[in-house]
């Protein structure tokens, strides 16, 4: 049975660093996401509290989680690309 990937995979020396960065960012986001869930579970009234520009915590936190995911995605890609370029001597595409 064939067990090689569908496309030949190039040698990548940046895997360990990228994995570590991914795990760190994952835990940062998970912590913030968990905060949203915990507030909902323990003190739901807090979600109605006005926090900024007349918007309540539920709106600010909810939109914040969506925006944060996008921003962290760009940060992750920026550093991963730098690791790859540096450690693979610009050999990857």
């Amino acid at each position: 049975m064939l067990h090689e990937p569908a496309i030949p995979v190039e040698k990548d020396h940046a895997i360990a660093k990228k994995t570590k960065l991914g795990v760190i960012l994952f835990f940062v986001y998970t912590f913030i996401y968990a905060g949203f869930v915990v507030i909902g579970l323990t003190d739901p009234e807090l979600m109605g509290l006005e926090v900024i520009g007349g918007q309540n915590l539920a709106i600010v936190y909810g939109f914040g989680l969506i925006l944060l995911a996008i921003i962290m995605g760009f940060i992750y890609n920026y550093f991963c690309t730098r690791f790859e370029d540096k450690m693979n001597n610009n050999s990857t595409t």
Binding site: E4, P5, I15, Y33, G40, E45, A58, I59, I66
Partner: protein
């Protein structure tokens, strides 16, 4: 609900279907090998793949389901947007690149890359099939809902049309066609949702949506709670029903027999017109006491009070996005609550006005009870926790999303396409709040099905926009169902027949087997889509996420990050995840209601299984792996 069918909508719909089929034919000629059929030859550009990811992911659940749930339950629907997007964080940071390095064509290949174990092949194939079918159900339900106002056809016919077209698409072209269909559809969905949101904001908030039905209110006299007499002699009481603390009466008005709710104020009693459906003993269905063709059943949802700077106003005019939310939070929305009862052998369902403060609409709690004041129990809280957990962990465990990592040429492209997907999907999910709330207050809601709220909102701003949005939504379903059926056919033909049973087949034979499997799954999906009519598609997708997160994610993450993981540990974890999550769903309140039983009496007191089934799968994986360490003769998998 009876809708006016638009010829323009039909023309646009037919044009899009023809375009999709044309595209399929074009790419079908290029699909000769199994690599091309299942993974588009691995040559898709990351930008195209990213938007195609969005196209795959923004399924009926996102556009139809979330908008509908927000329109019915306010912020609680938006929880799905938050959770669905957060799931991509797991996909990007933990799963995307390692999986790209491991896999060949399917999720099962990736899972089995380290062990070459028959039990993993079987477990992963079963899991892929079950998760895909679970995900297919809401897509088909959404398809059926779409054709009712779009083409004036019954729900079941919509399901059959989508099923047939998709079987045709998949059986002709495979992943390349699906990718480009998803790319075009994903892009159009984001663009036109932005346009719809701009319309909502430009329209602002108003107490009088256009062409809105004015609900009648009649003076009445009530004695001993049940006997009602009406001073106005044009009405005659036909029946009175007391259910809980509420009293409903059926009136005769010469033409038809609508139901009213008795409202007792301090000094007077009034009867308020409600929406109702009646299923008579001989099976006839009446809408507001009249046949469906009489057009007595109305779209609803409006504001009863608008407060701007502490003053009541009739309308606001155009508003910015944050002003829209803030004003709605200070205002009062009339939602419609549902009640079912029996009267003289007829099964009656009524929807009555339920004024709700904007503050309650803009925070969690209308669907998922959380506060003590709303009477939340520990089970309600567990249900919420379970939902948020499954949404977070489910995305990166969906087989039809995972296979898209194999359509790009390298790891960097996999990562970049994931980020493009997150940006496009994140932006779209922010729009869902405005589209859902727009539907809630502009008199477009069909109380029988929340799923059409988004497209029907578009109808307020013109038939053309409605036609385009509906056609895109239809293409959304087509594309997602295509992806799911490819994943399912891959599980049957590639994972099960080829890898597990090791039936010798030529490359052409493999593609043929895949197409046959696609046909079979398509037929099955059509049947399920008809059976689950009326359920919110986001809710159903939430359940699919829970099954995926339970069955697949522990296996993927432990394989990638725990060296003691064994083949038996993975296989058992997948099986326990599937059995426990589906077991809980089948005995949960929502399914109990579907069986025609009383939801409160369901053996499991909450709907979302993730809180039990995910930890159970993790524990199984750890325990079995530790017990079978001596079997683990594998080396560390090649990280390159």
């Amino acid at each position: 609900m009876i809708y006016e069918v638009s010829n323009l909508a039909i023309v646009i719909f037919l044009f899009i279907v023809a375009f999709v089929l044309g595209l399929s034919f074009y790419f079908a000629r290029k699909t000769k090998s199994s690599k091309s059929y299942y993974a588009a030859g691995g040559n898709i550009h990351w930008g195209v793949n990213g938007i195609a990811f969005a196209g795959d992911y923004l399924s009926a659940a996102s556009f139809l389901g979330i908008c509908g749930m927000i329109a019915f339950s306010g912020y609680d629907g938006f929880l799905y947007s938050i959770g669905f997007l957060a799931g991509w964080v797991v996909a990007l940071f933990l799963v995307a690149e390692p999986l790209k390095r491991l896999g060949k064509y399917t999720f099962a290949d990736a899972l089995d890359a380290k062990f070459n174990s028959k039990s993993i092949k079987l477990a992963a194939a079963i899991s892929t099939l079950i998760v895909s079918v679970f995900y297919l159900i809401p897509q088909m339900v959404g398809a059926g809902d779409l054709v009712v106002p779009l083409l004036g056809l019954p729900h079941w016919m919509g399901v059959v049309i989508v099923g047939s077209i998709v079987i045709f698409i998949v059986a002709t072209a495979g992943m390349t066609s699906t990718t480009y269909v998803q790319f075009i559809k994903g892009g159009l969905l984001v663009i036109f949702s932005t346009i719809l949101t701009i319309y909502v904001l430009k329209n602002g908030l108003t107490l009088t949506p256009e062409n809105y039905h004015k609900f009648a209110e009649i003076e009445a006299v009530v004695t001993n709670d049940t006997v009602v007499t009406i001073p106005d002699s044009t009405y005659h009481v036909e029946a009175t029903v007391v259910t809980g603390k509420m009293v409903f009466v059926k009136l005769n008005t010469q033409e038809f027999s609508p139901w009213f709710k008795v409202n007792t104020h301090d000094d007077r009693t009034t009867l308020e017109e409600v929406l109702s459906t009646t299923v008579t003993a001989d099976g006839e269905k009446l809408f507001n006491g009249a046949p469906q063709s009489a057009g007595k059943f109305f779209q609803v949802g409006h504001l009863s009070k608008i407060i701007v700077d502490g003053k009541e106003v009739d309308k606001t005019g155009p508003v910015g996005p944050f002003e829209f939310i803030k004003t709605l939070e200070n205002s009062e929305v009339v939602r419609f609550a549902k009640k079912s009862f029996e009267s003289e052998g007829d099964a009656i369902t009524v929807w009555y006005q339920n004024p709700t403060s904007g503050k309650s609409v803009m925070e969690p709690g209308l669907k998922y009870k959380l506060s003590k004041a709303s009477g939340a129990t520990i089970w309600d809280k567990l249900n919420f926790l379970s939902l948020m957990l499954a949404l977070f962990l489910g995305t990166s465990a969906l087989p039809h999303i995972l296979i898209r990592y194999y359509t790009v040429p390298n790891q960097r492209a996999a990562r970049k396409s994931t980020i493009v997907a997150i940006a496009a999907i994140g932006f779209f999910y922010m729009l869902t709040l405005f589209m859902g709330l727009g539907a809630m207050i502009n008199g477009v809601i069909d109380v029988e099905s929340s799923n059409m709220s988004g497209p029907l909102l578009a109808k307020v701003f013109g038939v053309s926009l409605f036609a385009i949005i509906s056609a895109i939504a239809f293409a959304t379903v087509l594309g997602t169902v295509s992806g799911l059926i490819i994943a399912s056919s891959g599980a049957i033909a590639h994972d099960f027949i080829d890898n597990y049973l090791q039936v010798k087949m030529t490359d052409k034979g493999k593609v043929k087997a895949g197409k046959f499997a696609a046909f079979s799954v398509g037929i099955f999906a059509i049947l399920l889509g008809i059976l689950f009519k009326g359920m919110n598609v986001s809710f159903l997708v939430g359940l699919a996420f829970a099954v995926a997160a339970s069955a697949n994610l522990p296996a993927i993450l432990f394989l990638l990050f725990w060296k003691k993981t064994t083949a038996k540990g993975i296989a058992w974890s997948v099986i326990v995840g599937i059995v426990s999550s589906i077991g809980i769903i089948l005995f949960a309140p929502s399914m109990w209601e579907r069986y025609g039983l009383i939801a409160k009496n369901a053996p499991v007191p909450f709907d979302n299984p993730g809180i039990i089934s995910i930890p159970l799968a993790v524990i199984t994986l750890i325990v079995i792996s530790l017990l079978t360490q001596k079997d683990n003769s594998t080396k560390d998998f090649d990280r390159n």
